[in-house]
Each structure stands twice: as structure tokens, then as C-alpha cells.
């Protein structure tokens, strides 16, 4: 298991290589990208210690629920240009269904529970991105 929050870019090929542990039949990679929504850049910040602990908890839960063999998650912070990697999640499993389900569980949980925020920078300034639950839905999830 490898969990990181970092400003540097992500070496996806190295993450895939690390995921090929004995028993692996399927690797699924999710790569979240800065989308060109009329913005100039994106700025990300995290409550780092809590975010890393949250990602570790999600990785452990996904491993148990879906029988994953390996999980690595790298989430970036700082200023990112359009097309850059925001988050890369690599999971491996014996079979594809577990790998897809585990990967999807991780990104869904990440978006709803891990203290990371995105600000879309535009020529006129910027706007903080609402979470998927939106304002008014910030109830604890556990």
C-alpha cells in the first residue's frame, strides 16, 4: 500500500508495476485530470495529515471489501495546469470485477470524505469547487 499527497507529478507506470503482486489478474487505474472548463489553472490544498489518514482508511476498507491485492493512491496539491494528473488510484485484484469495484469505491469515498479542496482559477479570479454533496450536505459519514 502506498498513499501520498504531493506536489510532484505522478509516475503511473511505476505505480502499475508495483501493483503486479503475485495473484494479480487485473489492474485498474483511475486518473483524474484537470479538465478544461474555461479555467486557466487549478489550485489544490489538503489538510494533509488528516487526508493521508483518510486515504489509508479508505484503502484498507477497499482491500477488505473487494479482496484487493494492492492499492496505491497519489493525490496532488498545489497549482496544476489543464491536462495534469490530480489523483491516480491503482488497484490490483485476482479478477476484473473486484478491481473495478474497488477502484470506484476508493474514488467515490475520496471525493466525499477526504479533506482536499480545489479552486478553479480563471482570468477573473477563481472559484472554489463545491464537493459532490454540495453545500448543506456536510453530515459526518460514519
Amino acid at each position: 500500500m502506498m498513499i501520498r499527497i504531493q506536489t510532484d507529478d505522478v509516475d503511473v507506470a511505476a505505480m502499475i508495476a508495483a501493483a503486479k503482486v503475485p495473484g494479480t489478474g487485473a489492474v485498474v487505474v483511475f486518473d483524474g485530470i484537470v479538465r478544461d472548463d474555461g479555467i486557466t489553472e487549478m489550485e489544490l490544498e489538503a489538510y494533509e495529515d488528516v487526508a493521508v489518514a483518510g486515504l489509508e482508511k479508505i484503502a484498507v476498507e477497499a482491500t477488505e471489501r473487494f479482496g484487493l491485492l494492492h492499492v496505491s493512491i497519489v493525490h496532488r496539491i498545489g497549482r496544476l495546469a489543464i491536462g495534469e494528473n490530480i489523483v491516480v488510484i491503482v488497484v490490483s485484484a485476482g479478477h476484473r470485477h473486484e478491481a473495478y469495484d474497488g477502484s470506484r469505491f476508493i474514488i467515490d469515498e475520496l471525493k466525499h470524505t477526504v479533506p482536499i479542496w480545489k479552486k478553479e482559477l480563471t482570468r477573473d479570479g477563481g472559484r472554489w469547487v463545491d464537493g459532490e454533496h454540495g453545500h448543506g450536505a456536510g453530515k459526518p459519514q460514519e
Binding site: 487526508a51 480545489k118 464537493g131 454533496h133 453545500h135 448543506g136 456536510g138 459526518p140
Partner: protein, 92 residues
């Protein structure tokens, strides 16, 4: 006693990144944050409603552990605590 208060995202822009406060013994989280947020009306209004209670979506943590906003008026801060206040998360 000394307590660290951290704001993130929009709240950070309005109220500062990291504030070291020295609250009186027996202060609640709500009282502590209210006092700090008073310095900027827009910051205050982002976090508290017109009754001075935490807005529903605001997330409060004490030492990395989630505290229900409804309980923030009764949970007492201790020396060395780290209190974090932030809007809904939006990573990924």
C-alpha cells in the same frame, strides 16, 4: 493554554491559515472559533448563521476527529488541541 486553529479553502482565504489562540479554561470549540472569526465579517458569515451557530455544511475537527457542529458548543478545548474548520471537501 495554547490551541491551534486551522482554516482551509475559502475559510482560510478569509480568516487565515493557522491561528494560535489562548482560550480561557473551559472554552468550547464554538466559543473559540466564534472569537477568532469575529475579526472578518465575511469569514464569520461564511461559518456561522444569523443565530451565531455553525452553518450546517461546516466541518469541525478536533485533533483530526470529526465533531458534530451541534456538539461544538459543549465540547471543551484542551491545551495543545488542533481545531480545524473547513467547507465540504472536493478532492479527486
Amino acid at each position: 493554554m495554547s490551541v491551534k486553529v486551522r482554516f482551509f479553502a475559502r475559510f482560510r482565504e478569509l480568516l487565515g491559515t493557522e491561528i494560535i489562540a489562548e482560550p480561557a479554561n473551559g472554552s468550547s470549540i464554538a466559543l473559540l472559533v466564534d472569537g477568532i472569526a469575529q475579526k472578518n465579517r465575511e469569514g464569520y458569515n461564511a461559518i456561522f448563521d444569523e443565530h451565531g451557530t455553525f452553518r450546517e455544511f461546516v466541518i469541525v475537527m478536533q485533533n483530526g476527529k470529526r465533531i458534530e457542529t451541534a456538539d461544538a458548543g459543549t465540547v471543551i478545548v484542551a491545551d495543545g488541541d488542533e481545531i480545524a474548520i473547513f467547507p465540504p471537501v472536493a478532492g479527486g
